[in-house]
Every structure is written in structure tokens, then in C-alpha cells.
């Protein structure tokens, strides 16, 4: 029978080892799951939930006919075993039947996120154009179209030509007789397929797809589109608390200017 002192020592030692292991393991896991720049298959739920939900079975990877999707391998510096794609290597070809999404058994890829309701018969149909894998951004300093050299390859590679990427015409003041045809991404339409990034002719692509979480800002409740009924609804979600300085401000506005001077 070990002494009480001995038992307590062993207990503490065990707890210490467990804490040490847990902290090390936890720190690694926390670091390993956060890959902010990862691009997921179409229909992926939010990244935070995706890393929980994905069972790493590779069904989407096997279903992808273009070998676009890959499971992250150790060394890819991405959550190991989860699917992703790199458009500069192989972009998403935007299959109309989206084979990668319905095969997901776990709920990490959600068919509803890549569906739209048909206007004709109110039927819900798969619609790859509603995918939000990322958003393309252009580095205007290395895009040769912005230099004035004629190139519209991203514009033409885009499956939603003239919608997701438009060409903006501008007079080239340098030559005085040419035009700029500058590609501009429409963030609300871009699906993030990356065919533009894949097609870009510069040595390192001047147009790149980045995840929505990186690109999209958040307005907050202070600014509302007064001309847009849907946006006005956001006012109801307003979570700004009654400002305690409001009375002070009103007093100030209502007060005689002489009072202010006296103060």
C-alpha cells in the first residue's frame, strides 16, 4: 500500500503529464486546422464548420472528373486529409451536374449552397453558378491589360464572361490614340472557380482567387442602403446600444450659445 504522500505525488505527476501533452497536442491541432487561404470544393459550408464536418473520405476527390480536388497531404500545410484545390495548377471546371457535391456523405458539402430555384417551374436545381468557392482579385500593377497591352484572357476564360469579369474601357492618355481594356471582377457574381487565375499569361498570375473570408468586408449596422428594401431589414438587427452620450449631445444642440460660452 503506497503512502498518501506517494499517491498524491503520483496523481499530480499524472495530471502534469496530461496537461503537458494536452497543451502541446492542442497547440499543434489549433495551428494545423487554420489554413485561411485554402480554397474548398463548391458547396462547402463555412470553413470553421467544414474542418469539423469533413470525414476525409475523398468521395469528392474521386468524383471530380478533372482531378481538380486533392486531399491535403502532410506537408501541404493545410488541415490534413481535407479536400482543396489550387486554381493555378488545376481550376474548377464548373461541371453543370456538380459531381463532387452530392456524393459528400457527412454534410461538409451542402447541395443547397449550389442550387437555385428555376423561375419556370419553381424547381430547385443544381446550379454551379451560385457556387462561392472564393473571389478573384486582380493585381493591377502586374496585369498587362492595365499597362495598356491588349490581353483579355481572364475575361474570356471566365465561365460567366461579361458577368463575373467585365472589361472597362478607358482612354490611354500616354499614347493618346489607344484604349485600355481593363478587367474588373464583380464580387457578387464571381464563383471563385479560378479559370482566370489558371489562364493568366503573366509568369505569376496577376489574378488570383482568394477565400471569401479574406476578401469580403463587413459593413456592420451603421450603414444601410436606404434605397434597398432588403438591406433596410438589417436595421432591425441593429445591436448598437442606446448611446449614453445621446442626452448630452441633444442638450448641446438645444442649449443657447451663451450657456456654452459660460461653460
Amino acid at each position: 500500500m503506497p503512502s498518501r504522500r506517494e499517491t498524491i505525488r503520483k496523481l499530480l505527476q499524472g495530471a502534469g503529464f496530461l496537461g503537458l501533452g494536452g497543451l502541446t497536442w492542442g497547440a499543434y491541432v489549433d495551428e494545423a486546422k487554420s489554413a485561411e487561404l485554402i480554397l474548398r470544393p463548391p458547396g462547402a459550408i463555412s470553413e470553421e464548420d467544414f474542418v469539423k464536418a469533413c470525414v476525409k473520405c475523398g468521395e469528392c476527390v474521386i468524383a471530380c472528373p478533372y482531378d481538380t480536388l486533392k486531399l491535403a497531404e502532410p506537408g501541404d500545410r493545410k488541415p490534413v486529409g481535407t479536400p482543396f484545390f489550387e486554381p493555378r495548377k488545376i481550376a474548377c471546371e464548373m461541371c453543370p451536374d456538380i459531381p463532387c457535391v452530392p456524393v459528400c456523405p457527412s454534410g461538409a458539402l451542402d447541395v443547397n449552397l449550389v442550387s437555385s430555384v428555376k423561375e419556370k417551374n419553381k424547381e430547385t436545381m443544381l446550379d454551379i453558378n451560385t457556387a462561392k468557392m472564393g473571389i478573384a482579385v486582380i493585381d493591377t500593377s502586374t496585369c498587362i491589360a492595365y499597362w495598356g497591352i491588349q490581353c483579355d484572357i481572364c475575361y474570356r476564360a471566365c465561365p460567366l464572361m461579361d458577368e463575373a469579369i467585365e472589361l472597362k474601357y478607358e482612354r490611354n492618355e500616354r499614347t493618346g490614340k489607344h484604349a485600355f481594356l481593363k478587367p474588373v471582377v464583380n464580387n457578387e457574381v464571381c464563383t471563385g472557380c479560378g479559370l482566370c487565375e489558371h489562364a493568366c499569361v503573366t509568369e505569376k498570375s496577376a489574378i488570383k482567387v482568394l477565400p471569401l473570408s479574406i476578401i469580403l468586408g463587413k459593413v456592420g449596422s451603421h450603414y444601410i442602403k436606404g434605397w434597398d428594401e432588403d438591406d433596410e431589414k438589417r436595421m432591425e438587427e441593429n445591436d448598437v446600444e442606446e448611446d449614453e452620450n445621446m442626452d448630452k449631445a441633444l442638450d448641446y444642440l438645444n442649449s443657447d450659445w451663451k450657456d456654452i460660452v459660460d461653460e
Binding site: 499524472g14 496530461l18 497536442w25 491541432v29 494545423a32 470525414v55 468521395e59 497531404e73 490534413v80 486529409g81
Partner: protein, 269 residues
Amino acid sequence: MNKALKNNKFLILRRIIQISILLLFVGGNYWGWNILRGDLSTAKVLDTFYLSDPYFVIQTFASGFVVAADVLVGALIILLFYALIGGRAFCSWVCPMNIITDSANRLRKILKMYREDVKVPINRNLRYWILGLSIVLSALFGVAAFEAVSPISMLHRGIIFGMGFGWAAILLVFFFDLFVLQNGWCGYVCPLGAFYSLTNKISIFKIKHTVENCTECNKCLIVCPEKPVLAIIGKKSGQITKGECTNCGRCIDVCEDHALKFSFNKYNK
């Protein structure tokens, strides 16, 4: 030759099954076979239903996500199969890491390091603490914690989909078993094995000992990767009931006295 075959019957059978399963998965990814598609985490069988790793699903649940019904049912099938029938057979009949750790053990024998352990102050219950810790960490960090580091997954997924630097983790396990601790990974550390040990209470597929035939040669104790489960050898007849027994059948292979055999039923004499 015939004797060598007979003395390694279950070993050979296990390797055939382990490698066939991997081959079916590889075919599922590269050649469009649909007998088994996916990997050992979740697999689609015959293009109709899923089988899932219940330990993975529990970690996912702890992380705060309830997976869709397909995977839940798949995990339940596997859980029930091992709990009611196979016991801890996953570890020695399916898990590809078993091939790695058995090789390390084999090399130990060849290098005559077979029973010489560096004194490592850990015991076989460590794995249960790691199992518990993995659930706690999954909940704290919102992701399946063991699956983020599992060398087993890196191995089978590596073979099926692409290895990357996963070989480093596999080598780590191999060296740990070879130089640090005999059967270290499967017998002390692996929480997946711990999970199947815990669920292995009432399974019917078990090893049976007949003490009357035993000559106490101790060959079974030398080869057993989970030595404490063989406590009844030479003492009394009966089934090996400890949950840690992986049903690998090595003890049956090496026994020359017909004192050990597989039994499928508690009541068969």
C-alpha cells in the same frame, strides 16, 4: 515449407486481408472500382452504403458537429460489428499500421533486441488517457483532434490518395517501436486501439485456451503484442476475455500443443 505455412497461417491470412482492403481502396480511387471507395475513415461499399470509423465520428461530435445520417449509420455498423463479433480485430486484421509495427517487431527479433527495452516510464493505460484527451481537445479546439495527427490515417490515406510528408509520421512510429518500446504504438499509445479495446466486452470472436494441452513453453507469451491478456495461459482453460486482445492469432500460430484456438462462441467447448 509446409510447416512454415502452417506456423504462420493467421499471419499470412491477416496480411492478405489487410493488403486486399488497401488494394480495393486504391482501385476505388484510381481505377473506378466500387467495391470499397474512400478510405478507412469513411468508405462507400458497393456504391450503396457507407462504413465509418466510430472513433472519428465521436471526435467530430465532440468538436460540435453532427455528421449526416449516412456516416452515422456507417459508424454504428462498424461499432456493432466489432463490439458484437470481431472484438479488437480491426487492429490486427484491417489496420495497415499493424504491418509497420509488426515489421519493427520482426526487426527487433532479427537484431536480437527482442526483449530488451529501454526503460520507458509509461504503462499500457497511457492509451486510455490519450483517448480521453483526444475527446477533450476535439471539444476545445473544434476539430477532430486525433484525426489531425493520426499516423494511421496518414498511412492509409497516403497509400490511397497521396503520401506527402506522411512517411515521416509512419517512420516515427516504426522507430518508436523498434528502438524505444516494443509494441509501443499499438500497445501503449494508439487511442484508436484503446477505443476498440473499450468496446470489446461481449464480442463472440475470441481465442480459447485449453490448459490440459499446454506445456508452458511460453512461445505464445513471447509473440503476443498485448502480453497481459494471456494471464490465464497454463493456469486455467477458457477464453481470452481482456479487451486488449486483437485476435491476431499469433499465439495460435506458434502453439505446437493445440492449447490455443479461435472460438466463435462462448459456449462452444
